[in-house]
Amino acid sequence: MQENDFLNANINSYLNCVHCGKCLPVCPTYNISLNEFYSPRGRVRLILTDNADTMPLGVSKVAEAMSTCLLCGRCVNICPNDVKIGDLIINEKIKLNKLNKLKNGTLFSLDKLALRTLKNKRKILLKSALKFANIPIIEFLSKRYAPKPEGKSFITDRDYKFKPEGKRVNKNNLKVGYFSGCVFNSIYPQISEDTVSALIKNGVSVYVPANQECCGLPFISSGDISSFKDLALNNVNAFKDKDTDYIITSCASCSYSINKLYPLYFNKNDGGYNDVLNFSKKLINIWSFFKIAEKMGMDIKIGELKNEVEAVFHIPCHLSNLSGFKPSSYNEGLIGEAGLIADKINGLKLKPLKHNYCCGNGGMFNIRHYDFSKGITRRKFEEIKEASPQSILTSCSGCMFSLSDQRGILKEKDTLPVNHLISIYAQSLKE
């Protein structure tokens, strides 16, 4: 597997594993199964054995261990020896995928349809599939929830430019591009509207190119590197040569994919390598953007909610902005950079979550291992219940799916609303 130089560096990181066990309790799948076959340390051992060829291993069993990894990155964050577990798992999936293609088709494609709909340009398939899945009888038969697409897609067939509102217009205004990601385009388009609205109200001009697509995370996490690279290049080109200071996303998983994974899977010999790096560097999540803008002197508008709300903010695993971050307010201490925006909403009171557990979504993990996923989500709701909020906030498409899907998991009669924090902020600016 010589996709890239990175792999030579990262793949060998499994040799650094001293199997100390520190990764066990932070792993969502280990925590639910309490079985080391579903642990980071176990997965590393399987990869190591598979690569060293010291013992013949069953492909489907190894594939099961890999496909049950949510790529949440919690083990990577605490590993004292810097073992790049997530990258190793992706790499192993690519390898298994290739192996299996030689025999009997794509391995990680029980969900071929889901992936195909995401690759479709105008997301018509995605919408129709979800509408179909929402027909009560189908929902009943499939025994699972499918999010209901809200209204029209955010991205249309032409590029859009949103000008800053009100008096805040001046020469030094920041100019950003907006990357919606597929979920905040097709399923929750309101979140894209709200993000743009919050930006323009703060004097930022926003450019939305029509030609953007899915970030590619569902593909790379399925071992389909070629679709991933196609989508990545398409996104890179959509924003190329446009006059923007930053490119912003409101989805934690899109930022993980673009910031962390894009640079890893392109190498110097690939066409567009430098463009990919530039795009990856330029893209930041909405919370980091406001933090930077504030440092540059932006006077971030304060909003006001009509009715006071006590909420919890679920920190998406892919929004790893807590390590090394020095909080400057109570809210920042609770939730990291996003706390800055929470500070700007009068009437929003954040309550702490004791453990900040994973929501259990993990993108394709939720589709492939629905019951496993639900077990992790249940634990999340137990922690939410302890905080007894009136509302759940987050900032990732995957988290919004699982939290909305399972909000009745503890048999609560009153199900809590699940919202993106940026929507609450946008709303507070209107009120």
Binding site: N16, C20, G21, K22, L34, E36, K61
Partner: protein, 457 residues
């Protein structure tokens, strides 16, 4: 392995609590020590009755049975040396009862140490034993290995807290030892015999632990010296105080280097060759008083660096760095011979000087850190796996260090246990007569030698 035994387990526990595919077994073939052994089957019992039946099935099929918590031990205690059955306690992870009047808590063995600490802390209580692995190691494993950590200098090790046990012996019988009383001299003290028995006398199903009230506050001082002798004299004078530190850890130059990044130079800029972490705990008034007194004493020994932590973030950074030393040493070699000798405190300087000599003689890096306050030094001999000559030199170095330890009146293992890693060195300390007593004790509890065979002796 006999397929029949696997079927019998499946019948007893259900298929979901029996692992027998080799890819699954591979994930149970190691712990934090350096050797690997494949089990034949892994089972997940939920209570004493099931464990008893598991042991009886193993007796019938004459198959070894080895207990396992998080598999984070350093001496190979949870490794199935002779194959057989690994009993994973991870699904027995409930806190069964808290007795606040008598201040005892009863737990299943699979409870993670940190979870128990946090459960008790929420109620204003404190469970002191704090092995570096406390965030992931289980109470069952802690009891089996008699784990200790930095707090041992003031609060002692696991054995001080175990009051009663439910144990399944090698006959598959369930016995209950000890009681929730401070005083208990009814017959031999089997509770304490079980603590630190490294899973060789039986499998625990219930553990009753004493707990304390939580100290109101604590403070940390980081202090370092260029001169080893001065540093150690300074540390010893702190230990004589009535309000002695609740933690007194030391790191040598290489261990400081290995975790320097954890200290985040913008927060704490480390200098010096010997570093101590000193903790005071108690009421806020006591802590302030101790902190001032420690600083005054330390300054008399001309430290090159003295940092008193002001906030929780700094304390967290310091403790994260301390915990990260052991796993971070990998950069010095891919094979670590990890010795956790303990010597009388006044012999620490002599021991370290001796180790320095050994390191030079055999030309191998040896990195030392550990619990100065209780004389427990982690001596890490760092080797390259593929360099056969070096590995041989490492083994010789280990032998010399252990021999010296015994000569100075110390112990072969302060925390990790003998397990597989040190059993050949038992003869340095004990003669045949003594070893026979140990073996006969094992025979009483495990006549067929099926419980974790091949460990300790």
């Amino acid at each position: 392995m006999n397929q029949k035994l696997i079927s019998e387990f499946e019948e007893l526990l259900g298929k979901s609590r029996v692992l027998s595919e080799k890819e699954e077994l591979l994930c149970y073939s190691y712990d934090a020590a350096s050797k690997d052994f494949m089990p034949d089957v892994v089972v997940f019992p939920l209570n004493a009755g099931e464990i008893s039946k598991i042991v009886k099935l193993c007796l019938k099929h004459d198959t070894p049975v080895v207990g396992r918590g998080s598999g984070s031990g350093f001496s190979g205690g949870s490794l199935p040396l002779k194959g057989g059955v690994v009993v994973s306690f991870t699904k027995m992870n409930h806190i069964l009862e808290i007795d606040e009047e008598n201040m005892f808590v009863t737990v299943e063995p699979g409870v993670i140490n940190a979870d128990l600490k946090s459960y008790l802390a929420d109620k204003g209580y404190f469970y002191p034993p704090d092995p570096a692995s406390y965030e992931f190691s289980t109470i069952g494993g802690n009891v089996a290995e008699c784990s200790g950590g930095p707090s041992a200098v003031k609060y002692g090790v696991t054995k001080e807290y175990v009051a009663a046990l439910e144990v399944i012996t090698g006959d598959g019988e369930i016995i209950n030892t000890g009681s929730k009383t401070v005083k208990d001299v009814s017959g031999y003290n089997l509770t304490q015999l079980m603590v630190g028995s490294e899973g060789t006398l039986g499998l625990f199903s219930k553990i009753t632990l004493k707990f304390l009230s939580k100290p109101e506050a604590n403070s940390l001082i980081l202090v370092s010296f260029d001169d080893k002798d001065k540093g150690f004299k300074a540390a010893i004078s702190l230990l004589k105080l009535r309000n002695k530190p609740s933690m007194l850890e030391f790191m040598d130059k290489s261990s400081i280097e290995s975790v320097k990044s954890y200290f985040k130079s913008d927060i704490i800029k480390i200098e010096g060759a010997f570093l101590f972490i000193v903790e005071a705990d108690g009421s806020q008034v006591e802590v302030d008083k101790s902190n001032a007194e420690y600083k005054k004493i330390l300054k008399e020994f001309s430290p090159v660096f003295l940092f008193s932590s002001g906030n929780e973030e700094e304390k967290r950074v310091i403790m994260e760095a301390r915990k990260a030393i052991s796993p971070s040493l990998r950069k010095y070699g891919d094979l670590k011979i990890n010795n956790d000798i303990a010597v009388p405190i006044n012999k620490i300087i002599e021991t370290l000087s001796f180790i320095e000599g050994v390191s030079k003689t055999y030309n191998i890096p040896i990195i030392n850190f550990g619990h100065f306050g209780d004389g427990n030094i982690h001596v890490n001999i760092m080797l390259n796996k593929d360099d056969i000559d070096m590995v041989e030199r490492g083994e010789k170095a280990k032998f010399e260090i252990l021999r010296k330890t015994v000569e100075l009146g110390g112990s072969l293992s302060g925390e990790h246990g003998i397990g597989l890693e040190k059993k050949e060195f038992m003869k340095l300390k004990y003669n045949d007569y003594y070893m026979n007593i140990l073996k006969n004790i094992k025979k009483v509890f495990d006549p067929q030698n099926i419980i974790n065979p091949g460990k300790i002796f």
